[in-house]
């Protein structure tokens, strides 16, 4: 029995991969992502946090790209290339963890709102709608400012303000799943809340959740950089804090284009990669969209 389920699952993964490979944009995104993640992971093998140390900058201030400093230097003579490389770790880490937090909250509350009828579900839905209306960036700024800027609080600030759209998506999906006859059969056999939600609803919403998480990472990275730019951030080098530095030191008026252009391009590249991946996942996993794309 379980062997049969296993084979079926394996087959559906294979089918999914075959479908996904046909999406050129999605594959491009996936490759860019893989490169970015691998680079971030292997960074400690080559450099350490010393490259972000203000006093250890060896180059001239705001020097344009040269052989020694391929992407120029910042206001303290640090290499922009190495800072970008090291900073990618913070940006990606916060992006992934914030998206994960947002997904966990969104999934738990979304399933709860869809599964429990009556006042419990209504209250969860009401709270979700309330969070959905709040201007998320403004709320995240206030949260980060109050909790103080450490990596953990930035993750919390982003996660706590970005889950409601996931919760709504998951709730709608939960309602759809629970309307199917096999849930009724399961109930008749004596299944409880826990069994229904974890064994039937969760596996059914999981694919959509994957697509939604991928898109969520993209927006979490943008939010992180915005929070850092607006001055509430962990005091660690990230792409956002670098851009903050470029603004504070007047890189725009000094004509130091490399200091502004490069960190921003990194953000755009990674965010677009996540977005393309997420959209491709959505198209592959959502049958309704698939038929539309085929036409």
């Amino acid at each position: 029995m379980s062997n049969l389920a296993w084979v079926r699952r394996q087959r559906s993964v294979q089918r999914f991969w075959r479908d996904f490979r046909t999406h050129k944009a999605g594959m491009t995104g996936l490759v860019v992502l893989a490169v970015a993640v691998v680079l971030a992971l292997v960074a400690p093998l080559f450099i350490d946090s010393g490259v972000t140390n203000v006093v250890s900058g060896t180059g001239a201030k705001l020097a344009p790209p040269s052989w020694d400093y391929p992407l120029g230097t910042d206001e303290s003579g640090r290499s922009v290339l190495l800072m970008i490389w090291w900073g990618s770790r913070t940006s990606l880490l916060i992006g992934f963890l914030a998206a994960l937090l947002s997904m966990v909250i969104g999934t738990v509350l979304g399933i709860a709102a869809g599964h429990f009828r009556g006042w419990a579900g209504a209250i969860v839905l009401r709270v979700t709608d309330w969070f959905l209306v709040l201007p998320s960036l403004v709320t995240a700024l206030v949260l980060a400012a109050i909790l103080g800027g450490s990596t953990a609080t930035i993750i919390i600030a982003i996660g706590v303000t970005s889950w409601p759209s996931t919760a709504r998506l998951i709730r709608a999906q939960t309602l759809a799943v629970e309307a199917r006859p096999y849930i009724e059969r399961s109930l008749a056999l004596g299944a409880g809340h826990w069994h229904i939600t974890t064994r039937h609803v969760l596996p059914n919403v999981a694919p959509l959740l994957l697509a939604s998480t991928t898109l969520e990472v993209a927006s979490a990275i943008v939010t992180e950089s915005t929070l850092a730019f607006l001055g509430v951030s962990a005091n660690k080098t990230s792409w956002g804090t670098m851009l903050r530095g470029s603004y504070d030191w007047g890189a725009a008026t000094a004509g130091a284009w490399w200091y502004i252009l490069i960190p921003g391009l990194c953000i755009v590249a990674v965010v677009m990669a996540f977005t393309l991946c997420g959209r491709a996942l959505e198209t592959v996993l959502n049958p309704r969209l698939r038929t539309r794309a085929a036409r």
Binding site: T139, L141, I146, L230, A252, T253, V268
Partner: protein, 337 residues
């Protein structure tokens, strides 16, 4: 299975709907007030000490400050006091400016309305126009171009786009001279009358452009997909069968129907625009609410932060409620559900 046929009491139903929505909005606002109170009491350590950082204050002065803020009272008493003050629109006194927060907000609200209002009108018109054209012929070159543009703009952080524009058009780069001012709403030596209007307009170009670019992408995508939905409808086929011109079908049949979800979305996502406005105002030193909020965070001036946060969230909630009710009035399909 029983089929329930509901009588549609048109006027009466609308009033009841509006009342329910207004009640919901009041509840949301109450939740915002409560959340704000507890959020700002979560500040680590002694708020007065945190506020007094960098200022020379004796212990007596600190005690006096505590009594003035009501921090020597119990939490429930503080809460009632806070609610009473908020109901009387008393948002406290800013530490940084030594002035009532409400006065500061009053001064800053004009520039913000000017900037976001202009940007919204431009973004909505452009987004709807381009989205309608793109959705009408899915897969066309125009459609692919529009989708690509909006995907890129979607991925670009607002502040970075602002920085780029600042670098290229305000500071000037290479052969391009600085065309627009880098900061503020008007020059020091701005002339009166019409000259002043021109001066402000020149200052507004870059912030407005940034804001439009960031928000218009999502309007475009929504308009595109809702036109796409309409294209498949029977009435479009009927219109074609009648021999109407393609442009006429789009303009007079598809677009008006597709407009509804888009316009509602504009109101629904107003929180997103507010976030963009904060960023844009911070970069271009536009003397509006967003910049006030940004300064409050930089200092940090918690009374000012609390006041602006309350105002921003409450206005966003009101806009959303308004959108709900307008949607209900405009779209009979929602009413019958």
């Amino acid at each position: 299975m029983t089929v329930v046929i509901e009588a549609a009491p048109a006027r009466h139903g609308l009033l009841r709907y509006a009342a329910t929505k207004a009640g919901g909005a009041l509840l949301s606002i109450a939740m915002v007030v409560v959340a704000t109170f507890f959020l700002f009491r979560m500040l680590p350590g002694d708020p007065v000490r945190a506020l007094a950082v960098g200022r020379n204050m004796t212990p007596e002065q600190l005690d006096l400050e505590r009594a003035r803020l009501g921090l020597d009272k119990s939490i429930p008493e503080q809460f009632l006091h806070f609610v009473g003050q908020t109901l009387r629109f008393d948002l406290g006194t800013s530490y940084e400016y030594k002035r009532p927060v409400l006065d500061l907000i009053g001064e800053r609200i004009g520039p913000t309305l000017l900037l976001t209002g202009t940007a919204l009108v431009l973004a909505v018109s452009l987004g709807i126009w381009q989205g309608a054209r793109a959705g009408w012929k899915p897969g066309s070159r125009f459609d692919r171009f529009s989708t690509a543009i909006s995907l890129v703009l979607w991925s670009v952080p607002t502040f970075w786009l602002g920085l780029l524009l600042l670098m290229v058009f305000a500071a000037g780069i290479g052969p391009i001279p600085g065309l627009f001012p880098t900061r503020g709403i008007s020059s020091v030596d701005a002339p009166d009358g019409f000259g002043y209007v021109l001066d402000v307009a020149q200052h507004m170009v870059l912030p407005c452009l940034t804001l439009v670019a960031v928000v218009y992408a999502q309007y475009l995508l929504v308009m595109r997909s809702s036109v796409l939905d309409e294209v498949e409808q029977d009435y479009i086929t009927t219109a074609r069968a009648k021999g109407l011109k393609d442009d006429d079908i789009r303009r007079r049949h598809a677009v008006p129907n597709a407009l509804l979800p888009t316009v509602t979305l504009v109101f629904m996502r107003i929180g997103f625009v507010v976030g963009g406005a904060v960023t844009v105002e911070a970069i271009f030193s536009w003397p509006g609410l967003g910049q006030l909020f940004y300064e409050a965070i930089r200092v940090p001036d918690f009374t000012l932060m609390q006041g602006t946060f309350l105002l921003i969230t409450v206005s966003v909630i009101l806009m959303n409620t308004l959108a709900d009710v307008i949607y209900h009035v405009l779209d009979p399909r929602v009413r019958s559900v």
